[in-house]
Subunit: 223 residues, 2 copies
């Protein structure tokens, strides 16, 4: 999770809510692990050593103190999730050489842990990333990245969609208009959905395509 | 572990040794997991679904039957390791857009499992791979890839070498001639050695640099 040249990501969030540090910490932890938030994005799987997200509340608001049982809690939590997701999206969009944000959605996995692992495996696969770069609706690479994650899986139950088009269904390649799906991949955001039909867990991880510019930016300078 | 266009790797090894299928299977399993052998190479971490290594023995040799306790056992095992390592090296050298084979050597890790995980983490890191592509002696990226593997680690004990030059020693960047190390990285094979000084386990994984040609080969064709 990086910006060019191994810079460190520092995100500061401020609020005028009146909120205890303990509750604020709990809500921030939830927000950075929400679908598509800071802990659910990957440019290249390489983790910076000092990424930081901080939140500060000064209590200057006239609203009542925020408590876990209070009536504003859920709205505040949802807003904080959205702020983190929005910032995380900007980090990915601004990744080295990125042309496409890839939204990897895992549905009906056996567990939350496996759902996140599967989503990361697809989002970090160089072959999936280059396929998106080339607008190639290559379901075989997606199936490969799902398979190598080592999670519970039944190919006969699995469905893979690119955008809204099923490209693989229940163990078989689906019939689809490759030209039209390729056109939908030539957009700023490409969604890959894998439905495992095994359980009720899900996860969304945001990745990006892998381009010559990624190589240029990361290879063509010296320390 | 792939060749261009998601082709499948098929390796066939033949011998005229007289050897039981059980012993041959055991020796082959050992050989494919040897340092730098088939299960210790990675072009891009993306695993083909049907890579195969097969060995066949017809027993036509005049040599005595090969047995686990026999006097030819160790020599045969060593030869088989070398055949597998040599073939695996050819696979990596022939990877998509490869200019440099990267030999990642982990020394004195806490366990064999962790040593392999650490070696893979360095060999699969896009930032390490692009640094090698650009001949950049960037020890920070190597330390990052070691750190993100989640293995037991003490930075104060760790030493990182590129070729024969220490670039990081016991928690501190080492003084070295960056131009000279960069020159040694402009060779067909670049060795990165990480000594953890924690235990007695080790592993060697072969990877490769990440180049624009990798992108070209994997992005610029359609299924």
């Amino acid at each position: 999770m990086i910006a060019p040249n191994m810079a460190t990501m520092l995100a500061f969030i401020t609020t005028d809510a009146d909120c205890s540090p303990a509750l604020l910490r709990k809500l921030l932890k939830r927000a950075v692990n929400a679908d598509g938030s800071f802990n659910r994005i990957t440019v290249d799987s390489d983790t910076s050593t000092s990424d930081t997200v901080a939140i500060m509340a000064n209590g200057a608001s006239d609203a009542p103190k925020l408590t876990a049982a209070g009536k504003h809690h859920d709205a505040f939590a949802k807003a904080l999730d959205e702020v983190c997701q929005d910032l995380a999206y900007q980090v990915i969009s601004d990744g080295e050489g990125v042309n496409h944000v890839i939204r990897v959605v895992i549905r009906n996995a056996a567990s939350d842990t496996e759902a996140v692992r599967l989503a990361r495996s697809v989002a970090d696969s160089p072959l999936v990333k280059t396929a998106v770069h080339g607008h190639d609706p290559n379901w075989g690479r997606i199936a490969m990245a799902v398979g190598k994650a080592g999670a519970k899986l039944d190919p006969q139950k699995m469905t893979i969609q690119i955008g809204k088009t099923s490209v693989y269904r229940h163990g078989q390649p689906a019939k689809f208009d490759a030209g039209r799906v390729s056109d939908t991949m030539n957009q700023p955001e490409v969604t890959i959905t894998v439905d495992l039909d095994l359980g009720e867990a899900g996860a969304t991880v945001l990745g990006c395509d892998l381009s010559r510019d990624y190589i240029r930016i990361n290879a063509d300078y010296t320390t």
